[in-house]
Amino acid sequence: MAGMKTATGDYIDSSWELRVFVGEEDPEAESVTLRVTGESHIGGVLLKIVEEINRKQDWSDHAIWWEQKRQWLLQTHWTLDKYGILADARLFFGPQQRPVTLRLPNRRALRLRTSFSKPLFKAVADICRLLSIRHPEELSLLRAPEKKEKKKKEKEPEEEVFDLTKVVLAGGVAPVLFRGMPAHFSDSAHTEACFRMLSRPEPPPDPGLLQRLPRPGSLADKTQPHSRWLDSSRCLMQQGIKAGDTLWLRFKYYSFFDLDPKADQVRLTQLYEQARWDLLLEEIDCTEEEMMVFAALQYHINKLSQSGEAGQAASTDPGLDDLDAALNNLEVKLEGSAPTDVLDSLTTIPELKDHLRIFRPRKLTLKGYRQHWVVFKETTLSYYKSQDEAPGDPIQQLNLKGCEVVPDVNVSSQKFCIKLLVPSPEGMSEIYLRCQDEQQYAHWMAGCRLASKGRTMADSSYASEVQAILAFLSLQRAGGGGSGNHTQGPDASAEALNPYGLVAPRFQRKFKAKQLTPRILEAHQNVAQLSLTEAQLRFIQAWQSLPDFGISYFTVRFKGSKKDEILGIANNRLIRIDLAVGDVVKTWRFSNMRQWNVNWDIRQVAIEFDEHINVAFSCVSASCRIVHEYIGGYIFLSTRERARGEEQDEDLFLQLIGGHEAF
């Protein structure tokens, strides 16, 4: 052992003194001095340090960080010589797990401990395991954007930061579910709240905030976030991240494997949140119609999540078909109620009869709404001049099966219209029914909706449909449905429909809330039956089918070209885009790719495709390492299908993203 001395106190072996600081990179930190030789193993050194410190503490997580080389000394069987450590090395004996603040896709902050010594790919996998997000390879961390110094000190509202630093996960074991959440979340009220935050969609943001947040104005702006990705093959420490720093956790690769509503509660929610913010902050463009659908889905999701109807409640067993329902019903009936009543209810076909005002838009007519006697039976709507003529032939009879039902409602002005577009061999007939009040409207509307699906009012869902419509109207009454008071605070928007929190700011500028609300409601009609997870899935799918979905932009300069251009990287292709106009110049698909490599010296990425097409470019907006990793990452993800059910092959990933060569 090192430190053998003669009687005079001279060291007779070749040992020397090694100074090790205890704690995280802090020059003021306490230090211990050990006598070591070049043959000392790291493990032995660690032991000595602990002895020297002489404090009772769990040191198991501590390791030595070599500051000059920016390297952890993790191989305990290696000797100091093998590492090349001499007496002048600045070594820090500190914890590998350190706290960071994560900014989640839903924009909430979460403090947790993560490894500063493992490659980021692994650290992210651990984080995702803690958050119970499957397929961590799709996510990664970004540096938080540098905050601009605020000129005047705005009062930022105190933000709740969730803390998971104390939660320790048992290694290697799949998290067990307990009370509908992974067991490690059910320890305390705080962690439970944390899980709710992770797995429940957030309410719509304050429209004012949306206006303030930065939005990309050009393609060049869209390249900015991508310069901040951290390197997956190196650890956080090596990338200059310090304990307590804020990092963003985001889905990096837009290739979401095997989304499973049951197993992916958190993943689905966070993905939804990322998609939602993408749309609201105009990171991705969509058309007006698409925005309305997105808005309707957000509204619906928020409503469900507010009403506390989480995924489990909404997941009715699809196997329970109408027959089973009928049988259940039967059982109930068998237990009570006189048979005659039942027979009565069986024999009466529910129908609606009332005076309604009807309007049929035609060319060259100035007639407005006219009062008629309207009878709605089964799926057929008939109207008569008056009640007296009802037994006779109706003016018109419409079978509503397959028709489009569009609400045209304005609660504040007491307008309750139903627009029906009824297909017939001759074309569509358009007809408006105007109801007097909410009650009447709700009943007729529910009937129309059922009829359009070919069901009658005898259907068991009729009553609930009526209730849903009434609830809907009351929401509209409370909200910005034309009252002119739509720039309320965020708390008000949670209750009512504030359309401005649901659409991107450019639609806020384009439309008044009064105009937006009915359009969102119209779109909502098509999604009103979805459960929370179904709605989230639908949202994500609609997002995925946008043409610009999943393209990460980088400013590059192609070899031989004199101007900067944009390179878009998607999950299956590379796209060369004109920087100024935004037009696609050329697309290369990964499936045609033979190889790609990086010349680290000149920071150039060279790719060879089939038929001897060679492309080379240097990266301007981001390090070429990030571009390289993006391409390799997508190719790694495309191998997942065949390795289904297997542990992710980390080595393969690191190899594909060039992690190994980089050392």
Partner: protein, 646 residues
């Protein structure tokens, strides 16, 4: 054919007025014999006399439904004086019945099933024999319903309620009818095809139901003799028998049974009310009791509840609509066949291919032509045929054509021409095609190809066409308004695809002065006449046309299209022996290593890690090599066909 009139026809076997009927009698004779054998084997200890009668009665009872005339092409058939292909129709009926029973009873391939089919044949033969009766009652004989049920079923109120009314009738008849053939046979034709007519509801009251009733009535009398019991058990144990299966099981012996219990039945005027107050009380009492503790009465009550369950299942069956359709073949001939409303286009196509001995190919399609609007559409395989046909008007000139159409699945044979948004056609390696298809259709969402370009749009009500720049997105078709850039935010929605189908326009250069003949039409399926709601688009060349049509199909149907294709390939494959081809295709797949070098290396690594069972060579190929081989075969066939058709 001369019996078009509304006269009532006795369906008793004694009725044989014309030649056809004699013919029929012979057939009946054969069936009766079979029935005899069946019934004798079922209840050998029964007196022979009633058994002999039972088939007859069976027949009359079963025939007690009203016929519904399908209007499709009926006029045409009459005008042409063409003989309707009765045999084909019969075969149809037969196969449909068998299919149905096999669906329901799963593994039960007992001889019973066959006899049952024959029985039904005996009944169904009747309408078809009359030649002109081209329609068959929908629900007809496939119902067994509990009578006067004192239970409530929200979903089925209407039918059930009417049915139970007619049930009474039927039950009463069944008491009387024993001695004479049924006089009340309704030989009814309804001219409307789509609506659930009175007659149809009435037709619910067929004998099979009443036979259930009477069997039940014998149960009620707690006189469960040896003959009834096995059958009852059969009924209750088969959880999901298709209606007629169960019925036919019991029918013959039930008749015998009834004979014996006849007096008792009369004594009990409402034997068929299953769950009277008493029973329901019983049921309530026995809730939660272990079965061995139940008294006999309680067990009976339980059995009744069970029967209701079975009966409920049958109610579903009862609502099946059927149509007799005329399918035109590419050689100007036509076939008449029956489809029921549950059949998809794929099933109908399979039937047609079987029957026409045309060889199996992916390209066989059912094409709907709307002559009035000069447009046509290939039905997608997953679509419901009856639903689509019901959109036709009564006097429709529309036709259904069975023919090979390359464009049906060209999308999957050469995906690179449709999915990449490129203007020019290109070749692509099979392996890459497969990757491309997987990418497009097998992800968590379907990628709609980016199709955009200038198309001509017809002005409403005029024969003039205007150019516009259109774009296809998953959410619909958009166009770029004048003076605006091609960015998402400025696009104007032309239409959304949920409610429209895409058709090929035919000869619009003449009809509407279209700039070219490559037109596509978007319209709601129910619209059958000229209307402002029909949108006409015209492309510069046929390539663009096909790109648009296929793009719209993808946007509209998504993954379903691919599923259809794979299903079609599977069918075609099972019809042929492809073993030689598939092995070669695997070989070619592994040799064509156009895989990126780095990728292939890595994938080898991962594969070897993944599975030891896979041979090293095969591991190289994607694990869905099945898909790949399916694909490459289909592709080969596709190209062959394309070549031959050129």
């Amino acid at each position: 054919m001369e019996q078009l009139s509304d006269e009532e026809i006795d369906h008793g076997a004694e009725e044989d007025s014309d030649k056809e009927d004699q013919d029929l009698d012979k057939m009946f004779g054969a069936w009766l014999g079979e029935l005899d054998r069946l019934t004798q084997s079922l209840d050998s200890d029964k007196p022979v006399e009633p058994v002999k009668r039972s088939p007859l009665r069976q027949e009359t009872n079963m025939a007690n439904f009203s016929y519904r005339f399908s209007i499709y092409n009926l006029n045409e058939a009459l005008n042409q004086g063409e003989t309707v292909d009765l045999d084909a129709l019969m075969a149809d009926l037969c196969s449909i019945e068998q299919e149905l029973s096999s669906i329901g009873s799963g593994s039960s391939k007992r001889p019973i099933t066959e006899t049952k089919a024959t029985q039904k044949l005996a009944v169904n033969r009747h309408p078809s024999k009359h030649g002109t009766l081209k329609g068959l009652s929908s629900s007809s004989n496939r119902i067994a319903k509990p009578s006067h049920a004192n239970y409530s079923l929200d979903d089925i109120t209407a039918q059930l309620e009417q049915a139970s009314l007619s049930m009474d009738e039927a039950a009463q008849q069944s008491v009387l009818e024993d001695t004479k053939p049924m006089v009340t046979n309704q030989h009814r034709r309804t001219a409307s095809a789509g609506t659930v007519s009175d007659a149809e509801v009435r037709s619910v009251s067929n004998s099979s139901r009443s036979s259930v009733t009477s069997a039940a009535s014998s149960m009620d009398s707690l006189d469960i003799d040896k003959v009834t019991r096995p059958q009852e058990l059969d009924l209750t144990h088969q959880e999901q028998p298709i209606a007629e299966h169960a019925i036919s099981l019991r029918c013959p012996s039930k008749q015998a049974q009834r004979h014996i219990d006849f007096t008792e039945e009369q004594a009990e005027p409402t034997p068929h009310s299953y769950l009277d107050r008493e029973t329901s009380l019983l049921l309530r009492n026995i809730a939660g009791k272990p079965s061995h503790l139940l008294t006999k009465e309680e067990q009976a009550a339980k059995l009744k509840a069970e029967k209701i369950r079975v009966a409920l299942e049958k109610i579903k069956e009862a609502q099946v609509k059927k149509l007799v359709i005329r399918v035109h073949m590419s050689d100007d001939s036509s076939k008449t066949m029956m489809v029921d409303e549950r059949q998809t286009v794929r099933q109908v196509l399979d039937n047609l291919m079987d029957k026409s001995h045309c060889g199996y190919s992916l390209d066989w399609s059912l094409v709907e032509t709307i002559s009035e609007l000069q447009m046509e559409r290939i039905f997608e395989d997953h679509e419901n045929l009856v639903e689509n046909l019901l959109n036709w008007t009564r006097d429709s000139q529309n036709k259904l054509i069975f023919m090979e159409r390359i464009e049906k699945y060209a999308l999957f044979k050469n995906p690179q021409n449709y999915l990449l948004g490129k203007k020019e056609t290109a070749e692509m390696a099979d392996r890459n095609k497969e990757v491309l298809l997987e990418e497009c259709f097998c992800g968590s969402s379907v990628t709609v190809p980016e199709i955009e370009g200038v198309l001509w749009l017809k002005d409403d009500g005029k024969k003039s066409w205007k150019k516009r720049y259109f774009l296809l997105r998953a959410s619909g078709i958009y166009y770029v308004p004048k003076g605006k850039a091609k960015v998402s935010r400025d696009l104007v929605c032309f239409l959304q695809l949920d409610h429209v189908n895409v058709y090929y326009g035919q000869d619009y250069r003449n009809k509407y002065k279209a700039p070219t003949d490559y037109c596509l039409v978007l319209k709601h399926p129910q619209i059958q006449k000229k209307s402002q709601y029909i949108k006409y688009l015209c492309c510069d060349d046929i390539r663009t046309l096909h790109q648009w049509v296929n793009g719209i199909r993808i946007a509209k149907y998504g993954k379903q299209l691919y599923v259809n294709y794979q299903e079609a390939v599977k069918r075609t494959e099972s019809a042929y022996d492809w073993t030689s081809l598939s092995s070669s295709s695997i070989k070619s797949g592994s040799s064509s290593s156009s895989i990126p070098e780095s990728q292939s290396n890595h994938s080898n690594q991962s594969d070897s890690g993944v599975s030891d069972t896979q041979p090293a060579g095969a591991g190289h190929i994607r694990s869905q090599s099945i898909v790949s081989s399916i694909f490459s075969e289909a592709w080969k066939r596709g190209t062959q066909l394309e070549e031959t058709s050129k």
